[in-house]
């Protein structure tokens, strides 16, 4: 029983990180209809910025804030400078551009920060909490991960639901032309959308790095899982991305915890889940029937 709870909690924690990454993809897809393949290496870049600060003696929290802020700036710059010229053009152009960006940023990280494995600290311990005299397998680190992702998601929901800027962003996502006629500065909204998405992506990168090793390509596995989570959810639905991430996290954790030679099966299972979902509901679990093309 303890083992089951442990595996479930691990799955939920990992799932939250997948959710955050998937959410970053969905935010960009909704506003610009572009799948941002560079999301992973953009997040990796901010993680390395955080690592550099920590190695220079700054606290984890300072590094976290700076990394998220630089994620926002990086996302905004990428949209304004690199994506803007290919927006509204053939979809394939944007895909190729983000793929190129993915490789370019990863290479830049290796040039600037080196390509060796480095350990990334975590602000909390990984010992289970003790309630009375039993130890439950819920570590402060996993609480921190779940809490911070929930906090960021809550802030995003509040932004979109209750503020004027959120209103304008949603309007731009539904129809740029109409929003523009109503006086919304659509360009600014797109830049803001990319910036916010990059913040969420950076958060997922920082969380997955915590207590483990980072190298320029350390996000690659997360990219695959994040994509699968986003597509399970339908690519168009933020709620779908979160649920997709949690489903994937739990499923992979059970596979790795219970199946014989489970840890070797994790990647395959992710793709099997993806294929099954696409066979049963080609638009993803949460999409309206017509939302997704190609």
């Amino acid at each position: 029983m303890d083992y089951f709870v442990n595996v479930t909690l691990t799955g939920l924690t990992q799932g939250m990180i997948y959710s955050a990454f998937a959410l970053a993809l969905v935010l960009i897809w909704r506003s610009t209809r572009i799948v941002n393949f560079a999301q992973g290496s953009m997040a990796a870049a901010t993680t390395f910025i955080a690592l550099a600060l920590i190695q220079a003696g700054q606290s984890y929290w300072v590094a976290l804030v700076v990394a998220l802020a630089s994620g926002f700036i990086l996302g905004a710059i990428v949209e304004r400078v690199i994506i803007r010229p290919v927006e509204g053009g053939p979809e394939l152009n944007a895909v190729i551009v983000t793929l190129g960006l993915f490789v370019a940023i990863q290479a830049s990280i290796a040039i600037i920060f080196g390509s060796s494995f480095q350990s990334f600290p975590t602000p909390f311990g990984v010992r289970g909490l003790e309630v009375g005299d039993t130890t439950i397998p819920l570590t402060p680190t996993s609480l921190y991960i779940i809490g911070s992702v929930l906090l960021v998601m809550g802030l995003l929901v509040a932004l979109f639901r209750f503020t004027r800027v959120g209103l304008a962003m949603r309007a731009s996502a539904f129809s740029q032309e109409v929003a523009r006629l109503l006086g919304v500065k659509v360009g600014g909204m797109l830049t803001l959308g990319w910036g916010l998405a990059a913040v969420v992506g950076s958060l997922s990168g920082l969380l997955i790095a915590g207590g483990s090793f980072v190298w320029p390509a350390y996000m690659d596995a997360l990219i695959v899982f994040g994509f699968v989570a986003a597509i399970i959810g339908g690519l168009d639905s933020p709620v779908g991305a979160i649920v997709g991430g949690l489903i994937l996290g739990l499923a992979l954790s059970y596979v790795s915890g219970y199946a014989p030679r489970g840890s070797a099966l994790v990647n395959i299972s992710a793709l099997v889940i993806l294929i099954v979902v696409l066979l049963v509901r080609p638009g993803g679990l949460f999409s309206s029937a017509t939302a997704r093309r190609a």
Partner: protein, 266 residues
Amino acid sequence: MTGINVAFGGVLALTDVSVTVEPGQVHGLIGPNGAGKTTLFNVACGLVRPTSGRIVWRGEEMRRLKPSKLTSLGIARTLQGVGLFPGMTVLENVMVGAHRHAHAGFGSALLALPTSDKDERLLRERAMRALTELNAGHYAGRYPGSLPYPVQKRVALARALVAEPELLLLDEPASGLSEDEMHELGELIRSVVGRMSVLLVEHHMDLVMRVCDRITVLDSGKQIAAGTPAEVQADPAVTEAYLGDAVDAEADAAELTHADGGRPHA
């Protein structure tokens, strides 16, 4: 707008068209399909840049009219169809229309500071008032897709009116409406005229004749008549454009019976 020319490639969509909307008047823009009404409309809101010609608004020449600047210039438009945002409630749709009246800066709105909170409430109230004025207040929490088409049209109109424009551009507001609803629309247009001028593109003649102070008639990109509804109705060029010239049609028919059926009918 004076001397507007628009060419798409080699095709002249508009040739030397001039339209002046007087303050507090309803100006109708009519013409057969493909006459260039919508093109002229798009010129008026900056979606199409004229090849030559001048656009003057409030005594100032608009050289680079941009769609996103429209509302801040005091111009609002509705679209053919409705163009409502599908995933947002009716109230939120109208709130986007009132966007330009919000005062809090971008930063404070993003950080949800108290000033923007108050702003948000004012925006909501203003949108609600506009909906109530058009008898659509009870639909505020619904999503556009679940509402009948005429109601959607009213919401779209509320979204344009909530910006409190000085010039309202209406693109075929009566399409898809029943006779009664069209009457209501006519009265509504007359009732807002005290507050703003209206440029109206419409197919339904009786609505146009009833509500417009002045009318411009386009045919194949050229202005063929302009004046009060009575003047326009009496203009032979207008009847010709709409019905074809009676004598010509007979001559055509005669020619066709003589020719051995090989000539395509123009």
